[in-house]
Every structure is written in structure tokens, then in C-alpha cells.
């Protein structure tokens, strides 16, 4: 579907929300809601999304929105879906929409439990790589070398490979995407929604965050693209059917398995203030992280090509 056609769909994220200029979460949510449609219940753990939707009684989301405690989103979504099923509503998308803090860190067990139980929900993580809502503290999704207000000298550990963790659960559909590619977000959320009735579906959206990553708010899309073009964040999707994994890279990551095709990582790093104090060993750690992510991609690709 073309961007023009997608844009012409009803906007369920209304004007008047209070997100920061250049906010990646609103870009992602706008596309996701266009794909999900009106028959959607959003379950939102503590996050920027629980703030920028507006202060009661004003709200900028035009779908039913249920705000819940930080670690509880996937479990609350499970309960909602089961109750709706019991009441005979089968055409509703129940979507847990949270940040990396709420889903990758404090809510990981909850997401894992819902995945294992095969709950018929969609979990979407917009990953801005830190606790941005509370003021840029390090999370499990922060990459090495990144400054945060709890890692003044740069984070020392690699980013938790969350989408691969979910893929290991054997859920029906897992995809990564980036705010740099709004159409990709739309398509993958649409695809996830099409598997309704087939268990949990997980989408991980990399969300470059101007205040937290320290870049100008006009560069959100550019950073979202550079993250992918440099190979920092590979885009892929995977379907699990009958114990078999169908894993594929999606454009533009398709060719980037060959490192020579990638844009130099420096182009991504130099645009962000958060990497300013980065040491050489941080950079080495970051390269190791990228290598690990691509190693995982190659492993899953080889599993898929065995068919």
C-alpha cells in the first residue's frame, strides 16, 4: 500500500496530544492505529504514551484506551481478550502498546507469560532505548556507549535482543521495524492483525528519540533510517507455522547482511549527542552487539532456508 493510501485512512491519533516535537512514538502509533482500525483496545503501561494521550477528560486517542501499571500490560491485555472472547466479541484487536522499559525490562515476564500461553493479543514495543518518560535513564534496551542520566560515562552492556527472545517463544509472528519506515510499520502491524486468533504477535519498533538521543527534532526519520542502513538495527519478520520458522529480512535490510553494503556506523553515531563521550572500547562493544544481532539473523535465516 502506498503512503498516500495509508495517509488517507482515518487518523485515530488525534491532534492536541502533548508529545515532544519529533516524537517517534506518535509517528509509530499513528501508523499502527491506521493498520489496526477502530475496533482496537489499547493497553498502555506507564510510558510517554500514557502521558501524551492527554489529561482527563481530554484524550487524543480515538480508540478505547486502558492505562495500566508498568509491569502489567500483557497480562491486562490477556484478561481483556479472554473476557471479550467469553462475551462473544471476536473481532477486536487487543494491543499492548508500551516502551522498552515497560515491555523489555519490568514487563518482560508478563510478555513472556502471555507469549507462552498463546494469548490472542498484539504486543508492540516502541523502543527509544531508555526510560525517556522519567528523564532518560538507562534500560535493558540502551546500546553500549550511550549516555543516559544513570550512565553518565556511557552504558557498558549490549542491548537486550528482545525480538529474538520473543521469536524463541515460538509465537505466531515477530517483526522488527523502525520509525524511519512508516509504511513498513503499517504493513507489519497489518500483518500481525491478520493473524488474529493465532496467538500472540510481537512487533518491535526502533524509535529514535530527540531529547534522549540528543539530536534535532527534525531528524527523527533520518535517524530511524540510518539505524537500519548502518546495520545497527536489522529489519526482519518471522512467522512460526507448525514448529517451523519462516524468517526473512525485509527491505532495506535485505542486502545489509553483507557488511560492505552498509552505511558506515559513524554516520549514525555522529548525529547523536548521547554517544559524544563514547570511548573506543564502547565502540567495540557496540560493534559486538551488531555482530551478535546479525549472527542471530544468519542463524534464523539458515533455519528457514532448510525447507
Amino acid at each position: 500500500m502506498s503512503l498516500k493510501e495509508i495517509i488517507s485512512k482515518p487518523d485515530l491519533l488525534l491532534r492536541g496530544h502533548s508529545a515532544c516535537p519529533g516524537c517517534p512514538s506518535t509517528i509509530a502509533l499513528r501508523m499502527a492505529l491506521k493498520a489496526l482500525g477502530e475496533k482496537t483496545i489499547l493497553v498502555i503501561p506507564a510510558s510517554c504514551s500514557s502521558v501524551y494521550q492527554g489529561v482527563y477528560p481530554g484524550v487524543s486517542f480515538n480508540v478505547i484506551t486502558y492505562n495500566v501499571a508498568f509491569a502489567s500490560a500483557a497480562a491486562v491485555a490477556s484478561g481483556i481478550k479472554r473476557a471479550l472472547t467469553k462475551k462473544g466479541y471476536t473481532d477486536v484487536n487487543v494491543v499492548a502498546w508500551g516502551g522498552d522499559g515497560g515491555l523489555v525490562d519490568i514487563g518482560l515476564a508478563t510478555v513472556s507469560g502471555a507469549a507462552e500461553r498463546g494469548e490472542d493479543i498484539i504486543v508492540i514495543c516502541y523502543d527509544n532505548e531508555a526510560y525517556m518518560n522519567t528523564g532518560i535513564q538507562r534500560s535493558g534496551a540502551t546500546p553500549p556507549g550511550a549516555w543516559t542520566t544513570t550512565t553518565w560515562a556511557g552504558k557498558t552492556e549490549i542491548k537486550k535482543p528482545m525480538p529474538f527472545i520473543l521469536l524463541d517463544h515460538g509465537v505466531r509472528y515477530v517483526a522488527t521495524t523502525s520509525v524511519g519506515y512508516p509504511i513498513d510499520i503499517y504493513n507489519k502491524v497489518k500483518k500481525a492483525a491478520s493473524f488474529r486468533g493465532e496467538g500472540l504477535r510481537y512487533i518491535h519498533i526502533l524509535a529514535p528519540d530527540p531529547p534522549g538521543w540528543r539530536f534535532d527534532s527534525s531528524l527523527t526519520i533520518e535517524l530511524g533510517r540510518l539505524a537500519v542502513e548502518t546495520g545497527f538495527w536489522p529489519l526482519w519478520e518471522a512467522e512460526v507455522i507448525g514448529g517451523k520458522i519462516k524468517f526473512r529480512l525485509t527491505p532495506p535490510s535485505t542486502t545489509l547482511i553483507d557488511p560492505s553494503k552498509r552505511v558506515p556506523l559513524e554516520r549514525f553515531i555522529e548525529k547523536q549527542g548521547r554517544f559524544r563521550a563514547m570511548k573506543e572500547w564502547h565502540a567495540e562493544k557496540l560493534r559486538q552487539q551488531m555482530e551478535l544481532y546479525w549472527e542471530l539473523v544468519r542463524a534464523f535465516l539458515s533455519l528457514s532456508s532448510g525447507e
Binding site: S50, V68, I80, A83
Partner: protein, 393 residues
């Protein structure tokens, strides 16, 4: 041989629809309470000594004897989170926990009350460690005293079953809309068999009709979607808390009516907010809750035989606290002894503190003696209570 006999026996017994009295543990009675209430969504996580509640409900659902969604969650936090979601989506929900599980779901316990969801939870009271101690203690449920849950403390297994059915009727009342926890002490009730009457399902249905709330928030058929639980300014938040407080105080009327209606239909009355025993003309009243209240009644009966004017008052509902009701009973008494299975470290017994607070508010200067006994499941013997009474009298 024995197996086939058991099988036939159970077939007859489960299919029968007439009220019957059989031996049930407190946990089984709790499961029966949920089943008779026709709960639609259950989410629970196992913990000793609550496990048999979830085991029994699972078994019934898997055998097709009972139709409900069971979410076998990965933690107690998620158990309460899942029932929060299900309740908001309009389902009658049930969960049960104990001790560490209760502590682990604490955030969601507060959340459910603030969201005004009529969830009912069985709490099999147990000590919170360390040390590891799986036995009865009231510290788990009492730690949630101020969160906005209605609290029922059952004294026997029949009361466990009846309280759960009553709890839904109270919680779902549109003037209340607060969650209810029904406490039963670990092992003392949970693993002890007593004769329990299982009511006729049709009669329970008459008392507790299908849950079909007009107000549930996540109705996908609403024409205008809205957000629930988003940010609220302090000056609006104050009103929400005040509404909760009013609802809790108003719940007293609903509780009294519910108990009366229950008695008319089932011929059973465990007391409404409180239960009195031989308080008329008593000089000393033993105030307690849960199973201790029954021990206290026995002690009072024995001391009455010795010519001592002793009565017993059971606090059945700890929230809303029966302030006026208690004062009406105690105002002309000489002394009050509070016996309880808890201790607020650094202060006093929790129930004793509550008692002093209401007696003071109603300008009565009756001495209140605080006795914390049986912590961590230590046995509470009638002789111990008798000794205290004899010392005080």
C-alpha cells in the same frame, strides 16, 4: 475396585443439583463459592496454602463441569492484572492468593480498587517471610487495609463459601463498585475439613444474577471510545478518592441488606458487619476476627458457665470498619480484650489500634487490651485466651 467406586460416587455427587452438605476444606469451599457465583474469568498463580483453590477450579473447567476462562498466569502480579483487564471488559472475575503472592501483586491490588473494579479475591492468610513460614498469619491481608478493598474475614468453611457469593453481590452493587477480599486462615481453615452446605445453583442464581454491567469500560460496542485511567490533576484526584471513601462507607447498608437477603434465601447468617455472642450484660468482651472469633465464643461460653460475664464480638468486615456498630455493642462494657493473629511491629495489634480509634471517636474511655497471639501459625488455645480474660476481669 476402590477407584471405580470413587468414580461412580463422584459422578453422582457432581451431577446432583440439590443442596447437600459434605466435608470440604476451606480451599474447596472457596472454589465452590467461585463456581456457584458463576465467575467468568479466573486468573491465578499457585502458592501454598492457596493451591487447592486453583487446582479445583482448573479440574472443574477441564472436565467441562464449569464454564469459565482460566488464565494460568506467570505471577501473582499478572493474576491481578489479568482479572483487572477482564473485569474492566465486563466479566465476573475471581482470583486467590496468599502471603508472598499477595505482596507480589500489591501494586495491582491498589490498582483494582482505584479502578473501582468488582473483583473478588480469596486470601488464604499466611505469614510473609523470612523465615519461610507457610502457616496462618493475618499480616498479608491487613497490609492492604488502606487500599480500598472491602475485607471479609471468615471464621469457618461454610462462611468462606457464603462470603464469596455475598462478596459479588456487594462488589457489583452500583453504589459500591469496590473489590472484595475474603480471608480464610492458612491451614486452620484452608486445609481443615468441615461440613459445608453447597447450595442449589438455581437459588444462588436467583440471589446473584448474571453479571451484566451497564458501566463496564472496555465495551467494544461503544460509539465513542474513551481512555480509562489516564492522568488526572490533583484537584480532580481528590474527588475520586472521596467517591471511593463514600462508596466504602455506603457499602455498609448494602452489606446489611445482602446478608439479610442471603439469610432469607439460604437460612444462613454469619453476621453482617459484626457478629455478637453473649454480649448482653457482659462486663468484658473479647473482640476478634477469623477463626479466633469462634475460639473466643467457646471461651466466653465456658466463662459464662463459671458465672463470669464475658461476651465475644467478631469483626466480620474489617473494611468498611464497623465503627458505629462496634461502639453500640461496647459502649456500656467495662473492658475490651482484642485477640488477633498479627502485630504492627513497633506499635500494637492492628485490630486493637482500630478499636481504640473508634472508641475514642465516640468518646468512650473503655480500656482496650491488645493481645497478639498465634503469629506464624502458632496454635491459639482456648486456655490462653481464658488466662488473659481472667487476668483482666
Amino acid at each position: 475396585m476402590i477407584n471405580s467406586y470413587n468414580f461412580r460416587f463422584s459422578e453422582v455427587y457432581w451431577c446432583s443439583n440439590v443442596p447437600r452438605t459434605i466435608a470440604l476444606t476451606g480451599n474447596e469451599a472457596a472454589a465452590w463459592g467461585a463456581r456457584l457465583s458463576r465467575v467468568e474469568v479466573i486468573a491465578a498463580y499457585p502458592i501454598t496454602p492457596q493451591t487447592q483453590i486453583v487446582e479445583k477450579l482448573s479440574e472443574w473447567i477441564e472436565k467441562g463441569e464449569f464454564n469459565a476462562e482460566f488464565i494460568r498466569v506467570e505471577s501473582e502480579h499478572s493474576a491481578m492484572a489479568a482479572v483487572a483487564g477482564a473485569s474492566a471488559a465486563g466479566a465476573r472475575t475471581f482470583t486467590a492468593t496468599s502471603s508472598h503472592g499477595f505482596a507480589y501483586m500489591y501494586e495491582m491490588i491498589a490498582w483494582v480498587a482505584g479502578a473501582r473494579l468488582p473483583v473478588v479475591m480469596g486470601v488464604v492468610n499466611r505469614f510473609i517471610g523470612p523465615p519461610w513460614n507457610i502457616w496462618a498469619d493475618w499480616m498479608d491481608a491487613l497490609s492492604a487495609r488502606d487500599l480500598g478493598w472491602i475485607q471479609i474475614w471468615a471464621s469457618n468453611n461454610q462462611e468462606v463459601l457464603d462470603s464469596i457469593i455475598q462478596a459479588y453481590k456487594i462488589a457489583e452493587n452500583k453504589h459500591v463498585l469496590l473489590p472484595v477480599m475474603v480471608s480464610l486462615e492458612g491451614f486452620v481453615l484452608s486445609h481443615t475439613s468441615e461440613p459445608v452446605q453447597i447450595h442449589d445453583q438455581e437459588l444462588v442464581d436467583q440471589f446473584l444474577p448474571e453479571y451484566n454491567p451497564p458501566h463496564y469500560v472496555l465495551n467494544p460496542e461503544v460509539s465513542k471510545p474513551f481512555a480509562f485511567g489516564n492522568i488526572l490533576w490533583p484537584w480532580d484526584t481528590v474527588h475520586l478518592r472521596w467517591d471511593m471513601h463514600k462508596a466504602m462507607l455506603n457499602a455498609k447498608d448494602t452489606i446489611k441488606k445482602t446478608v439479610k437477603e442471603y439469610e432469607e434465601l439460604f437460612g444462613i447468617n454469619h453476621g453482617d458487619l459484626i457478629k455478637e455472642y453473649e454480649t448482653d450484660g457482659a462486663e468484658v468482651v473479647i473482640v476478634s476476627m477469623a477463626s479466633i472469633a469462634e475460639t473466643a465464643e467457646n471461651v466466653a461460653a465456658e466463662l459464662r458457665k463459671e458465672g463470669k460475664r464475658v461476651g465475644s464480638l467478631k469483626v466480620r468486615f474489617f473494611r468498611p470498619f464497623p465503627s458505629k456498630e462496634i461502639v453500640d455493642v461496647l459502649k456500656d462494657k467495662n473492658k475490651v480484650i482484642v485477640v488477633e493473629r498479627d502485630l504492627s511491629i513497633g506499635h500494637d495489634g492492628i485490630l486493637a489500634m482500630e478499636l481504640r480509634s473508634v472508641l475514642h471517636r465516640y468518646n468512650t474511655e473503655i480500656p482496650v487490651y491488645s493481645v497478639s497471639l498465634g503469629l506464624g501459625g502458632d496454635e491459639i488455645l482456648p486456655e490462653q485466651i481464658k488466662k488473659v480474660v481472667n487476668k483482666v476481669i
